[in-house]
Protein backbone atom coordinates (compact mmCIF):
# COMPACT_ATOMS: atom_id res chain seq x y z
CA UNK A 1 0.00 0.00 0.00
CA UNK A 2 1.27 3.42 -0.90
CA UNK A 3 2.40 5.45 2.04
CA UNK A 4 3.23 9.06 2.86
CA UNK A 5 6.87 7.99 2.71
CA UNK A 6 6.51 7.05 -0.97
CA UNK A 7 5.03 10.43 -1.77
CA UNK A 8 7.72 12.35 0.11
CA UNK A 9 10.33 10.27 -1.70
CA UNK A 10 8.95 11.11 -5.11
CA UNK A 11 8.61 14.86 -4.52
CA UNK A 12 11.04 16.87 -6.62
CA UNK A 13 12.31 19.50 -4.18
CA UNK A 14 13.14 22.07 -6.86
CA UNK A 15 9.59 21.82 -8.15
CA UNK A 16 8.13 21.81 -4.64
CA UNK A 17 9.99 24.99 -3.68
CA UNK A 18 8.99 26.65 -6.94
CA UNK A 19 5.38 25.67 -6.30
CA UNK A 20 5.74 27.33 -2.89
CA UNK A 21 6.98 30.38 -4.79
CA UNK A 22 10.04 30.81 -2.63
CA UNK A 23 12.25 33.59 -3.95
CA UNK A 24 15.49 31.60 -3.63
CA UNK A 25 14.78 27.88 -4.27
CA UNK A 26 18.38 27.08 -5.25
CA UNK A 27 19.85 28.72 -2.11
CA UNK A 28 17.30 27.01 0.07
CA UNK A 29 17.91 23.62 -1.47
CA UNK A 30 21.64 24.15 -0.98
CA UNK A 31 21.07 25.07 2.68
CA UNK A 32 19.18 21.85 3.33
CA UNK A 33 22.10 19.83 1.99
CA UNK A 34 23.92 20.27 5.31
CA UNK A 35 21.09 18.49 7.12
CA UNK A 36 20.66 15.87 4.40
CA UNK A 37 24.32 14.96 4.31
CA UNK A 38 25.51 15.60 7.88
CA UNK A 39 22.59 15.22 10.28
CA UNK A 40 19.64 13.21 8.94
CA UNK A 41 20.90 9.72 9.73
CA UNK A 42 22.42 10.61 13.11
CA UNK A 43 20.10 13.37 14.35
CA UNK A 44 19.20 11.68 17.64
CA UNK A 45 22.86 11.10 18.49
CA UNK A 46 23.73 14.68 17.57
CA UNK A 47 20.94 16.10 19.77
CA UNK A 48 21.98 13.91 22.70
CA UNK A 49 25.55 15.12 22.20
CA UNK A 50 24.46 18.78 22.26
CA UNK A 51 22.14 18.65 25.27
CA UNK A 52 22.71 15.39 27.14
CA UNK A 53 19.80 13.29 28.39
CA UNK A 54 19.00 15.82 31.11
CA UNK A 55 18.86 18.70 28.63
CA UNK A 56 16.69 16.71 26.24
CA UNK A 57 14.31 15.93 29.11
CA UNK A 58 14.16 19.62 30.09
CA UNK A 59 13.10 20.54 26.54
CA UNK A 60 10.46 17.79 26.49
CA UNK A 61 9.10 18.58 29.97
CA UNK A 62 9.00 22.35 29.39
CA UNK A 63 7.11 21.95 26.14
CA UNK A 64 4.76 19.26 27.45
CA UNK A 65 3.88 21.41 30.48
CA UNK A 66 2.75 24.20 28.16
CA UNK A 67 0.56 21.82 26.14
CA UNK A 68 -0.84 19.80 29.00
CA UNK A 69 -4.22 21.58 29.01
CA UNK A 70 -4.96 20.62 25.40
CA UNK A 71 -7.97 18.37 24.97
CA UNK A 72 -7.85 15.01 23.22
CA UNK A 73 -8.30 15.42 19.48
CA UNK A 74 -6.35 18.69 19.38
CA UNK A 75 -4.03 19.33 16.45
CA UNK A 76 -0.38 20.14 17.10
CA UNK A 77 2.08 21.25 14.46
CA UNK A 78 5.83 20.86 14.93
CA UNK A 79 7.66 23.29 12.65
CA UNK A 80 11.12 22.18 11.56
CA UNK A 81 10.49 18.81 13.17
CA UNK A 82 13.44 17.13 11.43
CA UNK A 83 13.34 13.40 12.16
CA UNK A 84 10.53 13.92 14.68
CA UNK A 85 12.88 13.37 17.63
CA UNK A 86 11.13 15.90 19.88
CA UNK A 87 7.70 15.46 18.23
CA UNK A 88 7.59 11.79 19.19
CA UNK A 89 8.95 12.35 22.69
CA UNK A 90 6.49 15.16 23.44
CA UNK A 91 3.53 13.19 22.09
CA UNK A 92 4.50 10.20 24.25
CA UNK A 93 5.05 12.41 27.28
CA UNK A 94 1.59 13.98 26.93
CA UNK A 95 0.05 10.52 26.60
CA UNK A 96 -3.21 11.79 25.14
CA UNK A 97 -4.90 11.24 21.80
CA UNK A 98 -3.46 14.36 20.21
CA UNK A 99 -2.97 14.71 16.46
CA UNK A 100 0.65 15.63 15.76
CA UNK A 101 1.93 16.88 12.39
CA UNK A 102 5.66 17.18 11.67
CA UNK A 103 6.76 19.70 9.05
CA UNK A 104 10.30 20.08 7.74
CA UNK A 105 11.91 21.37 4.57
CA UNK A 106 14.57 18.65 4.50
CA UNK A 107 13.30 15.49 2.85
CA UNK A 108 16.14 13.36 4.24
CA UNK A 109 15.22 14.32 7.82
CA UNK A 110 11.55 13.38 7.45
CA UNK A 111 12.47 10.14 5.71
CA UNK A 112 15.06 9.23 8.35
CA UNK A 113 12.43 9.58 11.08
CA UNK A 114 9.49 8.26 9.09
CA UNK A 115 9.34 4.78 10.62
CA UNK A 116 9.31 6.07 14.19
CA UNK A 117 6.80 8.80 13.40
CA UNK A 118 4.54 6.30 11.66
CA UNK A 119 4.57 4.10 14.78
CA UNK A 120 3.38 7.04 16.85
CA UNK A 121 0.82 8.10 14.23
CA UNK A 122 2.54 11.39 13.53
CA UNK A 123 1.97 12.75 10.03
CA UNK A 124 5.12 14.16 8.40
CA UNK A 125 5.01 16.62 5.52
CA UNK A 126 7.36 18.87 3.61
CA UNK A 127 7.11 22.57 4.24
CA UNK A 128 8.79 25.84 4.95
CA UNK A 129 8.54 27.58 8.32
CA UNK A 130 7.93 30.99 6.77
CA UNK A 131 5.10 29.62 4.61
CA UNK A 132 3.13 27.26 6.80
CA UNK A 133 -0.29 27.64 5.24
CA UNK A 134 1.07 27.47 1.70
CA UNK A 135 3.07 24.35 2.64
CA UNK A 136 -0.04 22.69 4.08
CA UNK A 137 -2.04 23.51 0.97
CA UNK A 138 0.64 22.14 -1.32
CA UNK A 139 1.27 18.99 0.74
CA UNK A 140 -2.46 18.30 0.80
CA UNK A 141 -2.41 18.26 -3.00
CA UNK A 142 0.41 15.69 -2.92
CA UNK A 143 -1.36 13.62 -0.23
CA UNK A 144 -4.77 13.77 -1.92
CA UNK A 145 -4.55 10.28 -3.40
CA UNK A 146 -3.83 8.80 0.05
CA UNK A 147 -6.87 10.61 1.43
CA UNK A 148 -4.62 12.11 4.10
CA UNK A 149 -5.49 15.68 4.99
CA UNK A 150 -3.22 17.97 6.96
CA UNK A 151 -5.41 20.36 8.96
CA UNK A 152 -5.23 24.11 8.59
CA UNK A 153 -6.06 24.90 12.21
CA UNK A 154 -3.91 23.98 15.22
CA UNK A 155 -4.36 24.20 18.96
CA UNK A 156 -0.62 24.06 19.54
CA UNK A 157 2.37 25.02 17.40
CA UNK A 158 5.96 24.12 18.30
CA UNK A 159 9.29 25.20 17.00
CA UNK A 160 12.25 23.57 18.71
CA UNK A 161 15.70 24.65 17.55
CA UNK A 162 14.38 25.79 14.17
CA UNK A 163 14.22 29.58 14.46
CA UNK A 164 17.98 30.12 14.20
CA UNK A 165 17.90 28.43 10.79
CA UNK A 166 15.28 30.82 9.39
CA UNK A 167 16.08 33.83 7.24
CA UNK A 168 13.03 35.93 8.01
CA UNK A 169 11.98 35.90 11.67
CA UNK A 170 8.99 38.22 11.36
CA UNK A 171 7.64 36.26 8.41
CA UNK A 172 8.13 33.13 10.50
CA UNK A 173 6.13 34.55 13.40
CA UNK A 174 3.43 35.82 11.05
CA UNK A 175 3.22 32.34 9.51
CA UNK A 176 2.56 31.06 13.04
CA UNK A 177 -0.37 33.37 13.49
CA UNK A 178 -1.79 32.56 10.07
CA UNK A 179 -2.01 28.92 11.13
CA UNK A 180 -3.60 30.05 14.32
CA UNK A 181 -6.34 32.08 12.67
CA UNK A 182 -8.07 29.23 10.95
CA UNK A 183 -10.27 31.13 8.58
CA UNK A 184 -7.24 32.72 6.96
CA UNK A 185 -5.36 29.48 6.58
CA UNK A 186 -5.75 27.19 3.59
Amino acid sequence: MEKIKDIILEIDMKRFLKELRVSNPETLEEATKYFSEKEASTRSKILRGYFGEEGINTIIETTAKELTSLQEGSNILDIGAGTGFFTIAIKRRLGKELNFYAMDVTKAMLLAGFKDMEKDRIVPFLGLAEQIKESIKLSNLYYERLKVRIPSIYQGILSILTLHHCEDIIRYLRAYILSWIGEQAV
Binding site: T58, I157, S159, H165, I170
Partner: protein, 74 residues
Protein backbone atom coordinates in the same frame (compact mmCIF):
# COMPACT_ATOMS: atom_id res chain seq x y z
CA UNK B 1 -5.79 27.38 16.35
CA UNK B 2 -8.08 28.07 19.29
CA UNK B 3 -7.62 31.46 20.81
CA UNK B 4 -5.66 31.14 24.03
CA UNK B 5 -3.76 28.03 22.96
CA UNK B 6 -0.02 28.11 22.77
CA UNK B 7 2.67 28.76 20.21
CA UNK B 8 6.00 27.62 21.59
CA UNK B 9 9.55 28.38 20.54
CA UNK B 10 12.66 26.88 22.07
CA UNK B 11 15.90 28.12 20.57
CA UNK B 12 19.39 29.41 21.24
CA UNK B 13 20.16 32.56 23.20
CA UNK B 14 22.56 35.01 21.57
CA UNK B 15 26.07 33.52 21.41
CA UNK B 16 29.46 34.53 19.99
CA UNK B 17 30.28 31.37 18.04
CA UNK B 18 30.33 32.61 14.44
CA UNK B 19 31.70 29.25 13.28
CA UNK B 20 28.28 27.68 14.00
CA UNK B 21 27.22 29.15 10.64
CA UNK B 22 29.65 26.92 8.80
CA UNK B 23 29.70 24.00 11.19
CA UNK B 24 25.97 23.65 11.80
CA UNK B 25 24.31 25.57 9.01
CA UNK B 26 22.99 28.22 11.43
CA UNK B 27 21.61 31.46 9.98
CA UNK B 28 21.38 33.36 13.29
CA UNK B 29 23.85 33.25 16.18
CA UNK B 30 21.05 32.79 18.66
CA UNK B 31 18.72 35.57 19.78
CA UNK B 32 18.67 38.38 22.29
CA UNK B 33 15.68 37.68 24.56
CA UNK B 34 14.42 41.28 24.57
CA UNK B 35 14.61 41.34 20.77
CA UNK B 36 12.63 38.11 20.48
CA UNK B 37 10.06 39.47 22.93
CA UNK B 38 9.76 42.68 20.89
CA UNK B 39 9.41 40.85 17.57
CA UNK B 40 6.88 38.38 18.94
CA UNK B 41 4.87 41.23 20.50
CA UNK B 42 4.37 42.66 17.00
CA UNK B 43 2.41 39.53 16.12
CA UNK B 44 1.05 38.10 19.40
CA UNK B 45 -0.81 39.89 22.21
CA UNK B 46 0.70 37.83 25.02
CA UNK B 47 4.37 36.88 24.96
CA UNK B 48 6.47 35.22 27.64
CA UNK B 49 10.18 34.68 27.07
CA UNK B 50 12.55 33.15 29.60
CA UNK B 51 15.99 31.61 29.70
CA UNK B 52 15.88 27.85 30.26
CA UNK B 53 18.04 27.27 33.34
CA UNK B 54 20.56 24.47 33.48
CA UNK B 55 20.56 23.60 29.79
CA UNK B 56 22.84 24.58 26.93
CA UNK B 57 23.76 23.43 23.47
CA UNK B 58 27.29 22.12 24.02
CA UNK B 59 29.69 21.47 21.18
CA UNK B 60 33.47 21.08 21.42
CA UNK B 61 33.78 23.07 24.65
CA UNK B 62 31.43 25.83 23.49
CA UNK B 63 28.03 26.30 25.10
CA UNK B 64 25.03 28.31 23.93
CA UNK B 65 22.14 28.75 26.37
CA UNK B 66 18.51 28.14 25.39
CA UNK B 67 15.35 30.22 25.78
CA UNK B 68 11.69 29.28 25.91
CA UNK B 69 9.01 31.51 24.40
CA UNK B 70 5.28 31.05 24.80
CA UNK B 71 3.02 33.22 22.66
CA UNK B 72 -0.74 33.67 22.52
CA UNK B 73 -3.27 35.96 21.00
CA UNK B 74 -6.19 36.42 23.34
Amino acid sequence: MDRGASCIIIDLCEHPFTEFREEMGDVHLGFNLDWIKGQAAKVFSEVKVKRLPGIACKESGRAAELFFASMKTL
